[in-house]
C-alpha cells in the first residue's frame, strides 16, 4: 500500500462542439483538472449527475481518447506517452464494464466467444485451455458454460448480460475494474445480486474498483472512498463514511437529499426548501460559471464564489484534527461545518442555510 495503483493528475478533457439549432457551440471542457488516486484493493466511487464529466473522466483514464492534458500513472507507468502495443499491454489489467449490458456485448457472438476473446488477446493459445478458463470465469460470475455458453446477448436477461460483461473483464486478469454505471439499469433485485458479485470478486481476487454512478445510495454498499463531481470538477473527496455522515459540500448534500427514503415521506418543509433550487438550471459546460461552478445552484453562494475558484482542500478546522480528517477534502469557500454528528450514521440537518430555510417555512406554515 505504499503507492497508489492508479494516479490521475490534473486531467483535462475538452471537446469542440459545433453550434447547432440554438445550442451554443464552443469548447466543452468535460473534465477540468481532476486528480484522484485509487489504492490497491480499494473501491473509489465517482458520483455526479449527467454531464458532470464522470464518464469522460473514466475514459480519459483509459486513454480512450487520451486526455488533452494531465497525466495518468497506472502501476507506475505513465500512460500518456504510450502508443499501440505498449499502451495495450500497460492497460490490460485495467478493464471496463458499461451501463447497457445489451449494447456492450457483441450481439452476434455467443457468450463463450465473448469471454474467450480477451484470453486470446492475452496469448492463451490452446483452444482447450481457453475453454477451461471460460468455464471457470463464467462459474465465478454465477453462470454455467454448458447452459449459457452458446447463448447470445439477446437470449439473456439484463443481469446475466452484465455477468457476462464482468466475466469478460475478469478474463484479462485485471487489477482495476472501472464500472461505469454498471448496475444502474438493472432491476433492484438483480442490482443487489450484481453488487454482491462485484463485492465478492473484490475480496476474492483483490481487485480495485473505480465506480461511476449518479446515485450516492447505490454505491454506499461498495465504496471505501467517494469523490463527488460537478460540471467537470471534483467538489468533495473523502472516506465514504465521512462523506455520507458529514458531507461538506452543498452539492453532496443535494445528492444525499435526492435519495428516496423508505422510512420517511418527502416532507412539505423539505419540498419548499428544495423547490427554490429547482428553478436553477444546470449551467452549460460550454460556458461554465466563473469561480465555483456550483454557485448558480448553491443555497450558500456569495460574491466570493463567483470571483474565486475554490480549490480542493481539507476544511480549515481539519488542519488541527486527525490525519483521517485531512483525507476528507472539499472545494468550497463556505463548506458545511464538519462537526461530528450525534448518531454515527445520521446525517446532519444540512447546516445553517438549510436550517434557515426550514425556520422560514415552518414560521409561514403556522
Amino acid at each position: 500500500m505504499t503507492e497508489p495503483l492508479l494516479q490521475a493528475r490534473d486531467l483535462v478533457q475538452e471537446f469542440t462542439v459545433r453550434g447547432q439549432g440554438g445550442v451554443r457551440g464552443g469548447v466543452l471542457q468535460a473534465v477540468s483538472g481532476v486528480g484522484l488516486d485509487v489504492w490497491p484493493g480499494e473501491t473509489l466511487s465517482v458520483v455526479g449527475e449527467t454531464g458532470s464529466g464522470k464518464s469522460t473522466l473514466a475514459r480519459s483514464i483509459m486513454q480512450a481518447p487520451p486526455p488533452k492534458s494531465g497525466e495518468v500513472i497506472y502501476q507506475g507507468v505513465t500512460l500518456g506517452g504510450l502508443r499501440g502495443a505498449a499502451l495495450r499491454d500497460a492497460r490490460r489489467s485495467m478493464q471496463m464494464i458499461f451501463q447497457d449490458p445489451y449494447t456492450s456485448l457483441d450481439p452476434l457472438w455467443p457468450v463463450a466467444r465473448i469471454v474467450a476473446e480477451p484470453l486470446r488477446a492475452a496469448g492463451v493459445r490452446s483452444r482447450a485451455g481457453r475453454r477451461r478458463q471460460v468455464g471457470q470465469l463464467l462459474e465465478q460470475v454465477g453462470l454455467d458454460l454448458s447452459v449459457h455458453g452458446r447463448r447470445r446477448a439477446r437470449e439473456l436477461s439484463g443481469g446475466q448480460c452484465q455477468r457476462v460483461a464482468i466475466a469478460r473483464a475478469l478474463a484479462a486478469g485485471p487489477a482495476l475494474i472501472i464500472a461505469d454505471e454498471a448496475v444502474s439499469s438493472l432491476d433492484v433485485l438483480v442490482q443487489a445480486q450484481v453488487l454482491n458479485l462485484l463485492e465478492g470478486l473484490r475480496t476474492e481476487l483483490g481487485l480495485s474498483y473505480l465506480f461511476i454512478a449518479h446515485d450516492l445510495a447505490l454505491v454506499k454498499q461498495v465504496s471505501d472512498r467517494v469523490a463527488v463531481m460537478y460540471l467537470g470538477r471534483l467538489c468533495e473527496v473523502g472516506p465514504a463514511d465521512q462523506v455520507y455522515a458529514r458531507p461538506l459540500h452543498p452539492y453532496t448534500v443535494e445528492l444525499l437529499d435526492a435519495v428516496p427514503r423508505i422510512e420517511q415521506r418527502d416532507q412539505p418543509a423539505r419540498e419548499t426548501a428544495a423547490a427554490e433550487r429547482d428553478r436553477a438550471e444546470a449551467p452549460s459546460p460550454v460556458s461554465p460559471p466563473s469561480g465555483c461552478r456550483f454557485r448558480t445552484r448553491c443555497p450558500r453562494a456569495q460574491a466570493k464564489c463567483a470571483a474565486e475558484t475554490p480549490l480542493l482542500a481539507p476544511p480549515a478546522e481539519a488542519a488541527t484534527a486527525s490525519a483521517a480528517a485531512t483525507a476528507h477534502a472539499v472545494a468550497c469557500h463556505f463548506p458545511l461545518t464538519a462537526k461530528p454528528a450525534a448518531e454515527p450514521t445520521a446525517r446532519p440537518s444540512a447546516g445553517p442555510a438549510k436550517t434557515a430555510g426550514l425556520a422560514k417555512t415552518t414560521s409561514t406554515s403556522q
Partner: protein
Amino acid sequence: MTAAAAPTAGGRASTPAAAGGASTPAAAGGASTPAAAGGATAPAVLEVRELSVRYRPRGRVVHAVDGLSYSVPAGRTVAIIGESGSGKTASSRAIMGLLPRSAEVSGSAVLNGTELIGLRDRELRRHRGRDVAMIFQDPARSLNPTMRIGPQIAEAIRAHRRRGGPAVSRSDARDRAVELLRLVRLSAPAQRYREYPHQLSGGMRQRVMIAMALSCSPKLLIADEATTALDVTTQAQIMRLLTGLQGQLGMAILMISHDLGLAASFADDVVVMYAGRVVERGPARALFGRPAADGCGTDTAIGGSLPQPSPSGASAGAGAGAGAGAGAGAGAGAGGGGVRMPYTSALLGAVPRLDRAAHTPLPVIGGRPPDLSAPPPGCAFAARCPRADERCAAERPELAEDSTEDAAGHAYACWHPLTASAPTTGEAS
C-alpha cells in the same frame, strides 16, 4: 361516479380478493393525507377489477396480467411496483388502450364512471388526455424532435378541445401552453416555448411532457417509470413537482415503477405485482411503517426535517446490517414496517440505502420470475421464496386482507406471511 361505486360494493361482497382495494380510500384517506383532506371519503377515479392481459405467441398463452384489481381514489397517488415482466406496464397500457391488437384484455377498468375495457379506439381517444393522461420513461422519444415544444403543447390543447367543448383559438392555446410551462416550473417559459426538444435536458423534457399531459386537466395521470431515466436529483425534482401539482389540481396519480423506495416516499397506496398478479397491497404507511405519529401535515413537517426520524431509520438499518446475516430484515425492520409477503420484503431489502454499512452483502434472493406461459400451479414466488413449502408449490394463495392487523386495506397473497413481531433475518441466504 355513484354508478361506479355501486357495483364495487357488490363486488366486494362476492370476491374477497377485491376487498382490500375497495376499503382503502375509506380507511386510510381523509384525515391522514393532506391531499385528500377535502372530502371525507374520496371517490375512486379509476376502479380496476379482475383485469387480465393475455398474449398468444405461437400457440402458447402468456398471462402478462392475471386478475389485477385496484382503485385509485381522487387526489391520491397509487404506485404499482414490480420488476421487468411483472405486468405493471402491460396493465396500465391496457387501461389506456395502448396494447397491440394481439393482446387479449379482459376484466373491467372504470374511469370516472366509464368502462374503458372494450371501448373502440375512437371512443377511447375522447378520454385520453381529458380524463386520463400518461407520461412515459423516455421523454426524448415521446416528443416530436422536429417541432418546437410550445406548439406541440398548443396542438395537444387544440386537438383535445376539438373533441368536446368549445374550440380554442391559436393564441389562446399558445397562452395556455406558456402558462403550463410555467406551471411545471420551466424557467423563462416564453423563450422555452420556441425551443426544440434537443435543446432541453432530460429533466426539462420530462417537464414538457408533464405540461402536455396536464394540458386538459386530467383526473388521472399515469406516470409509467417517468423518472427512471433521470438523475436522482432530477428525479426528486420531478416527483416534488408532481406531488405539488397533485395538491394544486386535485388529480389522482397512478405511478408505475420498479423502485419501491420511490413508491414508499411518494405514494399513498402501494400495489406490488409479481408474475402478473398482485402479491401485496396496502397503504404505504401500513407497509413501510411510517412514524406512528404522522397524523397531520405540520407534524411531519417539523418532525421530519429535524434529524429525529433519521436516527430511528438509521439505527434500525444499522442494527440489522451489523447482524451476521443482515437479511431482508434490514428493509422490513427499517421502520417497524408491516410488509408481510416475502417478495415485497426481498424487494425492500434490495433497495439501495444510505444507512447500510459499507462492504456488507446486500440481502438477495436467487432465481428469476417464472415463465408466464407456464405459470406454476401454486404461488409464483414459491421457487425463490425461503419460506416456501409443499403447499406453496401446489396451491395458489389468494389475495386476502389481514384481519389481525389494525392497518385496514393491507392485503397479501401468501401462505406463510412474515409476522410483524418476528424479524425476517432468515431471509438472507
